[in-house]
Amino acid sequence: MIYFLQLIVTGVSIGCIYALAALGFVLIYKASRVINFAQGELIAIGAFIVYGLTVWLGLPIWLSLIAGIILMFLVGRGIERTFLRPMIGEPIISVIMVTIGMASLLSGLVFFTPFGTLTSRFPGYLPDTPLLFGGIVLRWEQLVGVILTLVFVSVLIFFFTRSTLGIAMRAVADDQLASLSLGVSVERVFGLAWAAAGMSATAAGFVVGSLFGLELNSLTSIGLRVFPVVVLGGLDSIAGAVVGGVIIGVLEQLASGYLDAFVPGGGTGDVFPFLVLLVILLVKPYGLFGTEEIERV
């Protein structure tokens, strides 16, 4: 029983990482219908920026997190400007391939820096002894992840419901032509969506870096894990990203906890989210909270 609860707790904290990564993905899709295959690279770049600010410039870790988030805001906007702006109106396979090409390009550029072969952790900034609840272990870093997720989600909810720019983004997501006619700058909204994606990716990368250490491949592979999360939650739903992330995180931990014994070589947790993805696609393709697309002839 303790084992089961431990798996759940670990799953929730891992799920929050996925939720942060998926938030950015969902924002981009919501605003511009673009599938971002480069989310993993954004996570990696964000994490490396924070690492660089901490280790090389010697800033305190929380300050470098904030600074990293602000820098990634600019990076996200720059990426949208350079790669996605020329692709407006192109068929979806082209846009998917542009994000794939961009992912390749970004990871290649990371290899030009010392970060390509980096395998280090953030300098310790939290107590080493984890929290103990009964027999359940919760590391401080995992708690940080959960808190960051809650902060991001509440900021986003506030932003989308109360601020003018947020409502403008929702308008663009709903009907681009109508919002254009009302004076909303659709291009600014796209840039903002990508910037927000960069910010949440930085937060995700920060948590992963604190928990597992920084390494380019493991960070970019999170970008793939985002797909089961957003399909489960709904491609254009922020609440879905969080709920989906937590559910996938928990399912992954439960699968690897209980099924690894039966599978030669273990690693059931790697494939289980994708099996769930297939099942969801066949049963409820729009996910838990996604808006259904009704095709009219």
């Binding site: 082209s94 391939m97 090409g101 961009m102 290649g108 290899f111 010392p114 399909v231 690693g267 696609l281």
Partner: protein, 375 residues
């Protein structure tokens, strides 16, 4: 109205479009000179292996290009002509390759008692069988296309690709992704190994490419090809016209699977073994890139794309060696430059030439077709 046959027509050098009947419109070649130029190209390709500049690494490149051309033809069919985005083509290649290897290891060797080498007639049987196995899996993977469209279908194929890689990496029957050997081919008493591998697989690959390209071109001319294009453009309208979109989509996946399976089996034979790393998501993305750079939905595109991207590699290596001098030794420019150039090529093509290299080829052909007229 000018009837075909009444006006004198130069079937060799006519300038412009002179197809005057439905029957003429269905032909692949508009003029005899087009057919002749294709034959000349085939003759030139036939003599490539005896050229003095061919060495082992160049042979390997060319053989790989031919093999990937087959897989890319299949991918172009399902994604370009039928409109179903497939990010799992490498998995189908893997199915074909592993099918070839396991059939040889578990069925053929005990039953037919090959010792150390496999005869050529067996290879000729193995390739279509591997293709059929992959086609069956292709049909299975195509099942979601009955319910899903576009983006969701792409994500489903992505999931299949990842599940395939994981399965192969964890099944003890498949050595958990490790290397499984396939014996060398015995062609008319001569064992194909070391120096003979390059030319032998070149001709085998070239024959396969020619046959499969011929088949694909003709498939596209028949009702199947038209059904695929109809489903791509508007599947509800195709349904209203009597074309079953579900069957059409599944058939597209199956045919793409067949092509990929043959390509995978050839790759297994060329390498002498299979490992799971040859069939991962990265390879699927490479194949998609080859399709797009070549030209999505065009026949010449599938032939140009793989060659272009594969032949880019040695140049990137040379550039990396040159640039390495400017960087401190801790940074390996080779591993950095390859994905950078790859991504840059894809992005530049998509932004500036979305119709791919086949578009340049088309413009070139039109220029010569219309010469000396301008239009």
């Amino acid at each position: 109205m000018i009837q075909g046959g009444i006006v004198a027509v130069n079937r060799w050098f006519q300038s412009g479009n002179y197809r005057r009947s439905y029957r003429e419109d269905q032909t692949i070649f508009a003029t005899f000179s087009e057919e002749a130029s294709l034959l000349v190209l085939l003759v030139v390709l036939f003599f490539v292996p005896v050229m003095p500049f061919m060495n082992r690494s160049l042979f390997r490149l060319v053989d790989l290009a031919l093999i990937y051309t087959i897989a890319v033809m299949g991918l172009n069919l399902v994604t370009g002509f039928a409109g179903q985005i497939s990010i799992g083509q490498a998995a189908f290649m893997g199915v074909g390759a592993y099918a070839a290897v396991t059939i040889t290891r578990d069925l053929a060797e005990p039953l037919l008692g090959f010792s150390g080498t496999i005869p050529f007639w067996y290879v000729l049987l193995l390739l279509p069988i591997a293709g059929l196995v992959a086609a069956l899996l292709g049909a299975f993977v195509g099942l979601p296309s009955l319910r899903l469209k576009h983006l969701y279908l792409a994500i489903a194929t992505l999931a299949f690709q990842i599940i395939f890689t994981w399965l192969v990496g964890h099944l003890p029957w498949l050595e958990q992704g490790g290397s499984i050997r396939i014996p060398r081919v015995d062609f008319l008493g001569q064992v194909i190994k070391s120096k003979l591998i390059g030319p032998f697989y070149y001709y085998l690959g070239l024959t396969a490419v020619v046959l499969l390209a011929f088949a694909m071109r003709n498939l596209l001319r028949t009702k199947f090809g038209r059904a695929w294009v109809a489903v791509r453009d508007n599947d509800r309208a195709a349904d209203a016209m009597g074309i079953d979109p579900g069957v059409t989509k599944i058939m597209a996946f199956a045919v793409a699977g067949f092509y990929a399976g043959v390509a995978g089996a050839l790759l297994a034979l060329l390498n002498g073994s299979v490992i799971v790393e040859s069939f991962t998501l990265d390879i699927s993305i490479d194949l998609l890139a080859m399709v797009i750079v070549g030209g999505l939905g065009t026949m010449p595109g599938s032939l140009i794309g793989p060659a272009f991207l594969l032949f880019l590699d040695p140049w990137v290596e040379r550039l990396a060696a040159f640039v390495q001098g400017f960087f401190p030794a801790t940074i390996n420019v080779g591993t950095a430059l390859r994905p950078t150039v790859f991504g840059l090529v894809i992005v530049l093509f998509l932004v500036y030439e979305p119709r791919g290299l086949a578009n340049w080829w088309r413009i070139l052909r039109q220029y010569f077709k219309r010469w000396p007229f301008k239009y």
